[in-house]
Every structure is written in C-alpha cells, then in structure tokens.
Amino acid sequence: MASPLWYLYIIKEKIKNIIDAKPNKSSYIPPDRYRKVPPILKYPKKCISCEACKESCPAFAIEMYYNNEYKKNLPNIDVDSCISCANCVEACPTGVLEIDKHRLETEGLFFYIPKSHTLMIDGEKCVLCGQCKEVCPIDIIIEKPDTYFIEVSKCISCKECYKTCPVGAIIILDEKTHKEKINRFFELKLKKSFGELDISEKINKIPHISKYICIKCGNCKEICPGEIDLNNYKVVNCLYCGYCLEVCPTGAIRTEVKIEAKNKEETYYINEDQCIGCRICYKVCKVNAIEISKEIKIPYIIPDKCVTCGLCAKKCPVDAITKVKKEVAEKTVKKRIIENKIIEIIENDIKEYTKKYGLVKDYLENILKNKILEELKKYVMEETKKIMGENGDKRKNN
C-alpha cells in the first residue's frame, strides 16, 4: 500500500479521471427533429428589419432591438417564451432565421404566411399614385383600374406601404381593435336582446358600405334595428341610430369619405417657364387640385387641395413639377388664382349680359314677327277684295 508504485498508480488514475471528465458530446446534441430549440439568427447581414417575424409570433417572444454592429434593427428571440412553432422562419422574406432544417425544406413553397395584422387598401380613398407598390419589399401589390390591391395571403405586414401612403388609404386591422369592437358589439347585443336599445336619431345621412375593406364580420347586420344586405353591400332600411358605425372594426360602414393629406407642410408646384401646356397632369389628378389658368393657358396646383401624391410629377414629360414648401408655392399661385377669379367674374358677367340680351332680342323679335304677319294678312285681304270685286266675293262666301 505504501509503496511508491501505488501512489503513482493513484496519480495516474486521477489524471485519467480529469481527462475523461469531458462531457460526452453526442448525448447532449438533440435528435434531428427535436424542435425545443429556439430559432437562431443565421444570416444577420440579409435582414431588412421588416418585423415580419415579430408579427408572426403567437407567443410574443420576438422583439426588435437596434444593433450597433450591423447598424439596423435585428430580431431578439426570448428563449423562455418561444414555443418553437417555426412561424417566424416561414414568414421571413429573406431567409435570415433558421430552426434545424426548416428553412431549406420550405424554401420556394407557397403558402399562407402567418401574421396577426391585415393590411387593406381603401379603394374609395386611393388616389392611384402607386407609391405603395414602389415601397413594398416583396412586390405583392397589384394595380387594378380603380384601385391598388394587396394580396393578403402573401403579405408579411411590414407596414412600409402604410407609412408612405400620402392620404391614409391603407387600413391596419389588428387584434386589439378587433377585440375592442367585438366586446362593444356583445354589450350592445345583450341590450338589444333585452329590448333596452335606445333607437333615436343620431346621424343625418344614410351610411354606405365600402366593398374594398368590408371583412363580412356581420357585426353591423346583427346589431342593426333596420336591415342591411351584406352580400350586395347595401343598407336597405335605416333608422339613423348610428350603432353600426360604433361596431365596425375597419370603418367600412360610414356616412362620408374625406380625402385628407398627411403631409400638410409641402406641396407640388409647376414651373411655368418649363411647362409646355400638354395638360397630362390635369387629366391624371384624382383630387381635382389642378386648374388651368385662363390668362396664360397653363395649369397650376392649388396648395390647399394638393395631397402630395406625386402622380403629376411622375407623368410630366419635361419634369416641370417639383416639391416645394407651401409658402413658396403660395406666392406665385395666389396671383394666378386671383387672376382666374377676376376673369371668371368678367366672363360670368358677360354670359349673364348676353343671356339677358338674347332674351330681350327674342321677345322683341317674336312680337314684331306676329305684328308683321297680322298686318301682312290684313294687307293681302284688302288687296284681294280690291281685285276680285264685291260680286266675286259674295259667291265665295256662299
């Protein structure tokens, strides 16, 4: 026991133990399909900070934080609340995230992209400027004759189009407002079932339904004391109570449509020296902000009506239209507006004068014509009497 060989043996064993104490790696690696591993940021360079992953997460596990290294917002995945459903991997348009081999398996397949917000374009407000189509990172906005249209099944709801739209024609339907409206709906419905709903006139106009943003939830139809036909988007019988306006989650049922500009400081301005007077801008404008000067026969833009959609600047063949501040444009445009008004007043006066003149002229002409005719008749009768004589006249009368 006490021999040096024994001690050597023990020391050797201990050293061997320390060397062997490494964990057996193969037992720690989870099997291929085991999904209790949260997704990882594999290619952060490709990220476009669109927040599609954040939108798709059902467990609220993803948040965006600014990264100093890459100088953009990157998703940060909370490991504890991740349920590893792989929705974010499917939603990512550039393939940044990865969970085992799921990205490779689903690449190129088409399916409904998971998300919680839905974006829709209101066709009644759309001014057809096409800015949303330019901005969209995945090119899913289609042009139609009367409006632009978002393909909901492919949309990742990055909200880029919502930010750029000049008139606020794009509507976000999110879960929070949807739930609030549903709660309000159930409250009212309970009142209605007990017969306690107060039906007095609160609105002046009969509301109409926009078919572009109606999602057919049926809230208005169930609460209405009158009658609403959702298949044809029509209000059949209205009692002016206004409950349908309170309950609609998208604002599709409304009394009036107002197109208002988001940007109220800037406007477009036509340079009169460059303009060739082709009047393409005048035909293209949907909000009737362009009028034609009667003095020099060249179009000008009214700054109060302009919504800065930029459609006229795009279509102009000589690039005569530029974006300026409102105050700069008002100086020159005011002159044209006053000129136009004066010319209009003069023209109106002339019109009225000519109208009155014409009326008097017609009246006089009519009276004169009748008198002349009567006198002619008398004259002809007298002449015939003279020629025919009294005898002949008597025979004719008999």
């Binding site: 059902p58 409904y112 839905t118 939830c217």
Partner: protein, 373 residues
C-alpha cells in the same frame, strides 16, 4: 346520512375538482360535483385573435389530447373556407391522431391501475407508453404540444427511414401490449376491484348523453364520430368496438381493444401514404362564415363551433369537450359502488379531464337551472 368531500386536492386527482359523496353507512348514494378551480376563459381569449394564433391556443386547451384539439380546430376552419388539404397531409394527420390515441388510452389505464393499488401493472403500462411518445417526437418534433398542424396541411414530412422505424417499434409494442392485456384480464386483484362495479346501464346513457369509451362499454356501438367522418370511411381496418357489461372492467377492455385497432389502422395508413405523392401543404385563402366540426377525441365526441371573418379573424368560438357529458354519467355509476374507494376508482375510469371541461355551462332540469359549471 353523512357527506364525505373529496378534493379539490387529492392524490388521485390530476386536476382540481371537488366531489361531495353522500353516504348511507359506507355506501355512496349520490354525489355533488363542484368545478371552477381551473377556469381559464380560453374561448374569451380567442375572440378577436387571428386563426394562426388561435391554433396554438387551442392546442393548450388539454394537456393530454392536445393534438386532437388542434386537429378539430383547423378542420373546422378549413370546412368554413372550403379548403381541401393534400392526400399526404391527410394520412399524416390520421397517423399522428391514432398514435396519440394509443398513448392517451395507455395513460388512463395506468392511472386506473394506480387507483386500485395495482402499481406494478401501472408502471409496466407507463413504460411501454414511452415507445409511442418517442414515435410522436420523431414525427412531429415534440412530445405533447406538437404544433404539427398548419392551415392547409402539416408542418413536416416523414421519410423512408422513419416509416421502417415506426413498423419496427409497432411490432415490439404489439407483443408488450399482449402480455399487459393478459395480466390485466387474469389478475385477481383487478377482477375483485373492477368487475360489476360502477355499472352504467344502456338507458342511463339516454339521460346523460355519455360519449366515447364510456358509452361504447355499455353497448352503444354507434357512439363514435369516426364512423361518419370523411377520412375514416376509406379505411378497411377500422371497426368500432363495444361491450355490454358497462362496468369499470369493460371500459378498460374497450380501450385495450381500441389500441389493437389503432395499430392496424396505422399500418394501413402508412401503406396508403407510400402510394400517394405531392406536397404536404397547400396555399389557401380564409373566408368568413359559420361552421361546426365534430371529431372523436380519445375521451369521446369533441365539438368546435365558430364564426370567422374574412382574412381569418375569430369572431366567436364555442368548445364542447366529452368529459362534460361523462361527468354527468358518473352520478348514475355510483349506485353500484359498495365503498368510497370504489367511487374514486370509478371516477378515474371515465377518463376525466377537468381543464378541458371548465367552460361556463348551464344544466337545466325541469325548466330550472340546476348546475352552473
């Protein structure tokens, strides 16, 4: 007359519930059931959410049969918006569903064995259940909350290696289940504690609308939604199982029989799966409307009723789980229980799941509200 309260916390209960037994001597005569300890209001949370989020929430309605809940939910959405899923996804859904049925049945038989103090048999069953859980993990990626279903199909495909592995595991499992069943049928302890105890008669089913294995053990063979479900009509091996005794023993034997049929069905589905090709999921668009879907969960008939808007927001939803009806049938079983210990074992034999059942419910008898659950 004395009353013995059992619960809300008791070693035999997996979930909190209170049963007040009314005793005459040692014989239980009647029982009052009190609920509300795990009410989560999951239907109210789902209102206003998108279908993609509601799917994961529906999976968390139940902790054991989580796949069936998401299966019924997503089939209901597809029914409303008229989406047809590809053939491959259809077979994969049946495969996962039947595997989960085996594990659920084995778990409740094991719990029953523990409740009649036959712990050895219970441990055997739990041991062989682990083989099925491994298969589930291999196919879907997770053990319980699988997240396997997705709108228009399933998340992942299986390959040839997995199919051979499933066949091998099933062969082993079949031998094990045979010995376990023999032990269960011939053991004298099981016979003493479960034959002629907790009998539910055929006419009592009409009063309480019992469903699932509880109804099938009492002679009601047609109480199986799979008989009328579109996917199961083409399967040749599927046959409903029934028994006529209606006692605790028959309820467990029905479950053993169903496991055997499940194994046969899985083999047939795998053969059918290998014949078809194509993708496992499809592009689809969600349309608004109302609809209802029923499916045979492991405990009985499961119903999802819902109303959707365009683009897939849930307006309102109603879930009806099988334990609601089976708990009502429990009061009729008590009449043939000689002791309090048997009443507890009978409670376990109906396969109760409380957290599924905890919805706001009114039970009306003779025009008056008798129970509010």
């Amino acid at each position: 007359m004395t009353t013995v309260p059992i619960g809300p916390i008791h070693p035999i209960f997996k979930e909190p519930l209170r049963i007040k037994l009314v005793l005459d001597g040692e014989r239980p005569i009647d029982a009052e059931i009190e609920m509300g300890y795990v009410h989560r209001g999951i239907e109210k949370i789902m209102e206003g959410k998108h279908v993609h989020k509601g799917l994961y929430l529906a999976e968390r309605v139940c902790g054991i049969c989580s796949y069936v809940q998401s299966f019924t939910f997503i089939e209901c959405v597809e029914k409303i918006s008229k989406i047809e899923i590809p053939e491959k996804a259809k077979y994969l859904r049946i495969l996962t569903c039947e595997l989960e049925r085996i594990h659920s049945h084995l778990l409740i038989i094991a719990m029953y064995c523990l409740s009649i103090e036959h712990e050895t048999l219970g441990m055997w069953i739990l041991n062989s259940r682990e083989r099925i859980m491994d298969l589930l993990e291999m196919i879907t990626g997770n053990r319980i909350n699988t997240g396997y279903n997705i709108l228009g199909g399933v998340r992942k495909d299986i390959d040839k290696e997995m199919i051979t592995k499933i066949y091998n595991v099933l062969d082993k499992f079949e031998d094990e289940i045979k010995t376990i069943r023999e032990a269960f049928e011939t053991a004298p302890l099981v016979k003493l504690r479960s034959r002629d105890i907790g009998i539910l008669k055929y006419f009592d089913i009409m009063k309480t609308r019992a469903v699932g294995p509880v109804a099938r053990a009492s002679g009601l063979e047609n109480s199986d939604v799979r008989l009328r479900y579109k996917y199961y009509k083409e399967l040749k091996t599927y046959k409903p199982v029934s028994r006529k005794e209606g006692d605790n023993f028959a309820r467990n034997i029905v479950r053993f029989d169903e496991i055997e049929i499940c194994i046969k069905m899985i083999r047939e589905v795998l053969e059918l799966y290998q014949e078809v090709g194509g993708p496992i999921r499809e592009k689809c668009e969600i349309k608004g409307g109302e609809g209802e879907n029923r499916f045979e969960a492991h405990r009985g008939e499961l119903t999802y009723k819902m109303e959707l808007t365009n683009h897939g927001f849930i307006k309102r939803i109603m879930i009806r789980t099988p334990t609601t009806m089976n708990l009502a049938a429990y009061r009729y079983m008590l009449k043939t229980c000689p002791t309090v210990a048997d009443a507890v074992a009978t409670y376990v034999s109906i396969d109760p799941c409380i957290s599924c059942t905890e919805k706001t419910l009114y039970i009306v008898e003779d025009g008056k509200i008798k129970y509010i659950w």
